[in-house]
């Protein structure tokens, strides 16, 4: 076997989540009361635009969640296959050129020469301080005066490829458009068009340049930005997996049984809410770090260690942030439990468990969907903040937070190194904005109070 698949815990959970989402989609499609609001979501142009963008992020994230160790060429003496110690993902393979093409240090976007002055050996054997040519960026240019021409040529080629792809897509989804005329296809196609117009040139340019420059150790910033997407997605989605069981169980139980159960749950979440979250997270992450360091045999690769820390961060973030959902659900349950269909169920002697599972939880799901959608963007931002202050993900894990953290020193340089921070900002901003737009559309579609003219 040429590859040894590596199942990192977060990979497994992320893929399980994807399967669950597909399952939920099928479940919804069969139930008109659920299918209707979802179809309303995708009738809003904003939601379609956001959906397309999120879909791209998701593709990148999922490609980065299939990990393996490549087989080494030279088999060991015993005939057993030996595998590289480095864990790679599908995305890493696709971006192999970017990974390989590291520079010595900073370089500006599309630059051909380094950003920092170094001792350069002259053709005549003398050395003097200057900006050396990059190993990768523009290395194919014999003469730097061809730079403008080369960039323009590559950009145009990229645009042409993008346009061709777009037309192909347009042609292939034509029957789909005819089947669902209510979906604002135009908005979706324009978004895809803009994305292709941007990514086409980027892909072609990346063949010869560092499109977004390089960071302090010479890594390509574009690569870092793309790798950060997975971290954000993992934090944004897996954390909700932790939140949901706590939030739903405690919220519904408190609202339904009231009395001392309600008192205890309220006490717990009020107490938890009054402890500063950062303090709790920092303490928990440090504890975990100590455990990992003292058991090196359990985690053979660095990737596994980093992944464990990521997973642990999700768990601890989840444990500290279920209170909001619980409070929402408790209030709604208090209201629903007084409704007449619940009372009718009591009149039939229906057991508490069945009342909860058949009458209350299904009628609360719209709140859960809305709050999951809104929580996602909050969590992505929280990760950035936590990594910035150093209690977030493992320093070896690439994330928007670590990129921003690195930019602290870059901002104080003269001249300023702006591309790292800008790239992290643009990528994260787009992700959070589209998540928010989608959350808005979901809330509008599911919130019964906003529904107009629907009986």
């Amino acid at each position: 076997m040429p590859l040894l698949p590596v199942f990192l815990p977060t990979d497994v959970l992320l893929w399980l989540l994807v399967i669950a989402a597909v399952g939920y989609g099928i479940y919804c499609a069969r139930r008109p009361h659920l299918a209707q609001p979802w179809s309303r979501v995708f009738r809003s142009p904003g939601a379609v635009v956001a959906g397309v963008l999120l879909g791209c992020y998701l593709l990148i994230g999922l490609a980065d969640s299939l990990h393996f160790r490549a087989r080494l060429e030279q088999a060991s003496a015993s005939g057993q296959a030996a595998y590289a110690p480095e864990v790679l993902s599908l995305l890493d393979v696709a971006l192999a050129r970017l990974r390989a093409g590291t520079e010595r240090s900073y370089s500006a976007p599309l630059a051909t020469r380094a950003f920092v002055r170094e001792m350069v050996e002259q053709p005549d054997g003398t050395t003097r301080r200057g900006f050396p040519r990059l190993r990768q960026g523009g290395a194919h240019l014999e003469d730097e005066s061809q730079w403008t021409e080369d960039i323009a040529r590559r950009a145009l080629l990229g645009l042409a490829c993008g346009a061709a792809l777009w037309l192909l897509l347009l042609w292939s989804i034509r029957p789909l458009m005819r089947r669902a005329p209510a979906v604002p296809w135009r908005a979706g196609l324009i978004t895809v068009g803009v994305l292709l117009a941007l990514s086409g040139p980027v892909v072609v340019l990346a063949g010869g340049y560092h499109v977004l420059g390089t960071d302090k150790v010479g890594q390509d910033v574009l690569l870092l930005s793309l790798k950060s997407v997975r971290t954000s997605l993992v934090i944004g989605t897996l954390t909700t997996l932790v939140i949901l069981p706590f939030g739903i169980t405690f919220g519904v139980v408190a609202g339904y049984f009231r009395g001392w159960v309600d008192d205890v749950i309220q006490y717990v979440y009020t107490t938890l809410n009054s402890i500063p979250g950062v303090l709790l997270i920092a303490a928990a992450v440090l504890m975990m770090q100590v455990y990992v360091d003292s058991h090196p045999d359990l985690f053979p690769t660095a990737a596994q260690r980093a992944d464990l820390r990521l997973l642990f961060l999700c768990i601890i973030l989840g444990v500290t942030s279920w209170t909001g959902l619980t409070r929402l659900l408790r209030g709604e349950t208090l209201k629903l439990a007084e409704l007449e269909y619940v009372q009718a169920a009591h009149a039939f002697g229906v057991s508490h468990g069945r009342v909860l599972s058949r009458h209350l939880v299904p009628n609360l799901m719209h709140i859960v969907v809305i709050s999951v959608a809104i929580d996602f963007s909050t969590l992505v931002l929280t990760e950035a903040v936590l990594s910035y202050i150093g209690v977030g993900v493992d320093p070896t894990t690439v994330s928007f937070g670590t990129m921003i953290n690195g930019a602290r020193l870059e901002m104080s340089r003269e001249p300023i190194v702006w591309w790292s921070l800008s790239a992290a900002f643009v990528f994260m901003f787009t992700l959070v904005l589209s998540a928010n737009l989608l959350a808005d559309a979901v809330r509008d579609a599911f919130d019964p109070r906003v529904r107009i003219g629907v009986a």
Partner: protein
């Protein structure tokens, strides 16, 4: 002072001299609402005129476009609404052509409006006085002391007691009736020429409603305003209106004077509306329910003929294809007009009055013979009032305070009272949906007597099937996430009744649907696909699924339109005949009681004040409260003398000493304050808790 005199001058003889002159004219009004991809033609070519000093009623069932008409006149349509045609002329000015700035000067100044819900139509963070002076400032440039004086006068005029203190109070400190009076005061502040009352009394209790109607009548007479009364209640029309227009599916189908429409309705829809009203004279026979439903207002333009044709019992062949014109039924401005092909062949006969002579023979028969099914003795439900962080109990709301009831097999007991009297709480406590604080609820069970009030949850579960409940709101009583089949099977599965296996249950569910008159394909659908009446049928089928002997009906028809109410009442009556069910019918609607009930218990502030056979209580009421309640119900036939009750029902947390009713009682005596009167028998089956009944010498019986 001079202001007030001027007002009297203007409103007095001079106004009546101008009475009859047209003040507002609506001509071919068209209002469309965008609802998703559809256009709903909410108002479709409505024309009428409003004359000075008259009360013009626009009557119709929910969704017929009457409120949208009012909103169009005020140009206060929701964002999705648009006036697409017609004209609204206030004297000579076309309101629809005015710019919004000029329209704001008309609203409140010349045309004012009062809304249905007094709880939400006042701003909760402004004092009452501020809300009235706001209008005065805006329209009359009256500020400071002058405005305050005027506001005080207005509150006095609408009968708010202690007006000077009320000016400084906030809406939450006022009761529903008082809030509605404040709303009216604010509407009258700028002395408008037209007052639009959109279901202004629908949310109020009958005794309060009677007060407000009387107030409107008085104000109209004193000021010579024109009132556009929008209502679904034919009784209110009979009491207040001079002329009537009946709306159906966005159109006016009949015009006439009150006498004309009430005595001899010409349109089949109006006729059937009257025939579907429950009353004593229809006891024992089914009500003439209007079959089917109002056509969707989004699709009315595709109907080539009469919009009522599909539901009409007298439809002709051409009704389907030819749209009937408005046919005048005589000469003169007050002659009736009707949109019906039938009337081109002549007028319809006058209808028989509803209040027929006493036909209670059926009620008397078998009175004592039926065995007792349920006996409620001294039922109490008290809610503690808790304050502070330690949740100390500082008081008790005695929602139900010693209620005795007796229900016989196959009979209907009506529990009647105004909102907040504890009737619903009593009904739920009998089912143990609310835990009773005391008393006994004994169920006759194959010879043995079981006290339900003290049974354990497990023991109670075995008896859940005997008693079921049908709720008021058909939209809140069905789980929107469950299909009809799951809703109906829930009780059967839970209680193991009505079918051992899935096949037997499926058979039973199909039979149930048939029994309540729903099509079989309803099983696979969700509740939101059904109309209010159909949902109530589903709720009844759900209750029937476990083969109960007693159904507590908690206002099952009060959220429904008259014609749908008739369908449900017919169904309940039919089921009682077929299955021998007993009903505990909780309601505030005395006409329904007259039609359906055998015995009646009148409740006031947690206690039964009068109980007896229905004919005894309704024909010879003994308690002053019962008398006032009966007189306050607006009747379609003839206007009765209303016994005016002052004030509002007191709070159950702090009931008055002695007889709870004495502060409002028109016949109060000193000994009423001493102690709650005992039950005194007026006949073997009829008792009332009032000292007036006690055989004491010198008591002034009215």
């Amino acid at each position: 002072m001079s202001d007030a005199t001027q007002r009297t001058d203007r409103a007095g003889p001079t106004a009546s001299g101008a009475a009859g002159e047209r003040v507002l004219e609506v001509d071919g009004l068209q209002t469309d609402l965008a609802s998703g991809a559809e256009i709903v033609h909410a108002v479709d070519g409505v024309s009428f005129e409003l004359r000075r000093g008259e009360c013009f009623a626009l009557v119709g069932e929910s969704g017929c476009g009457k409120s949208m008409t009012a909103m169009s006149l005020m140009r206060l349509l929701p964002a999705a609404g648009e006036i697409t045609g017609g004209a609204v002329r206030l004297e000579t000015q076309d309101l629809l052509a005015l710019p919004e700035v000029a329209m704001r000067a008309v609203r409140g100044r010349r045309v004012a409006m009062i809304f249905q819900e007094p709880a939400t139509s006042l701003n909760p963070v402004l004092t009452v006085g501020r809300q009235i002076t706001e209008v005065l400032e805006r329209h009359l440039d009256m500020t400071g002391q002058a405005a305050r004086r005027r506001a005080l006068e207005l509150l006095d005029a609408v009968g708010v007691p202690d007006a000077a203190r009320r000016l400084e109070e906030y809406p939450f400190q006022l009761s529903g009736g008082l809030r509605q009076r404040v709303m009216i005061a604010a509407a009258l502040a700028a002395d408008p020429e037209v007052l639009i009352a959109d279901e202004a009394t629908t949310a109020l209790d009958v005794t309060i409603q009677a007060q407000i109607l009387e107030l409107l009548q008085g104000l109209q007479a004193a000021r010579g305003m024109a009132i556009l009364l929008i209502t679904h209640d034919l009784g209110i029309v009979a009491r207040l209106a001079d002329r009537v227009a009946v709306m159906y599916a966005g159109e006016i189908v009949e015009f006439g004077t009150r006498e004309g429409v009430m005595r001899a309705p010409q349109h089949p829809y109006t006729q059937m509306l009257f025939a579907s009203l429950p009353s004593a004279s229809r006891r024992g026979m089914p009500l003439a329910a209007i079959p089917g439903q109002v056509p969707s207002l989004a699709r009315v333009h595709t109907l080539p003929g009469c919009r009522f044709e599909a539901r009409c019992n007298q439809a002709l062949a051409r009704c389907r294809d030819v749209k009937p014109p408005m046919i005048a039924l005589g000469q003169g401005v007050d002659a009736g007009r009707v949109r019906c092909h039938l009337r081109s062949e002549g007028r319809a006969a006058a209808r028989a009055p509803l209040s027929a002579p006493e036909i209670w023979a059926e009620a008397e028969a078998g009175e004592a013979s039926a065995p007792t099914l349920l006996r409620v003795e001294n039922l109490q439900v008290h809610f503690p009032i808790q304050r502070g962080i330690l949740r100390r109990t500082v008081g008790t709301v005695r929602a139900v305070d010693g209620v005795d009831l007796l229900l016989r097999e196959g009979r209907t007991l009506a529990l009647v009272g105004e909102s907040g009297c504890g009737k619903t709480t009593a009904g739920k406590a009998i089912l143990r949906l609310i835990e009773p604080s005391g008393g006994r609820v004994t169920l006759a069970e194959s010879g043995a007597q079981v006290d339900l009030a003290t049974l354990s949850r497990a023991a109670l579960r075995g008896r859940r099937g005997v008693m079921q409940i049908v709720f008021q709101d058909p939209f809140a009583s069905l789980n929107p996430r469950m299909r009809v089949r799951e809703i109906l099977e829930e009780g059967m599965v839970s209680l193991g009744r009505g079918g051992a296996d899935a096949a037997a249950r499926a058979q039973r569910v199909a039979a149930l649907l048939e029994q309540v008159g729903l099509p079989g394909e309803a099983l696979a659908r969700y509740p939101h696909e059904f109309s209010g009446g159909q949902r109530q049928r589903i709720a009844i089928a759900r209750a029937l699924a476990v083969e109960p002997r007693l159904i507590v009906c908690d206002e099952p028809t009060s959220a429904l339109d008259v014609s749908v109410q008739a369908q449900i009442l017919n169904l309940l009556k039919q089921l009682q005949q077929d299955l021998g069910l007993s009903y505990l019918f909780i309601t505030h609607n005395l006409a329904v009681v007259e039609y359906l009930a055998h015995e009646i218990a009148v409740m006031y502030l947690g206690r039964i004040v009068e109980r007896g056979a229905v004919h005894e209580v309704l024909r010879r009421p003994q308690h002053p409260y019962t008398r006032a309640l009966l007189s306050a119900v607006p009747e379609v036939d003839g206007v009765r003398e209303v016994i005016r009750l002052g004030g509002e029902p007191p709070s159950a947390a702090n009931p008055p000493a002695g007889c709870h009713f004495h502060p409002r009682c028109p016949q109060v005596r000193p000994d009423c304050r001493a102690a709650y009167p005992p039950a005194i028998a007026a006949s073997p089956t009829h008792t009332a808790r009032c000292v007036l009944l006690a055989p004491s010498p010198g008591s002034a019986r009215a």
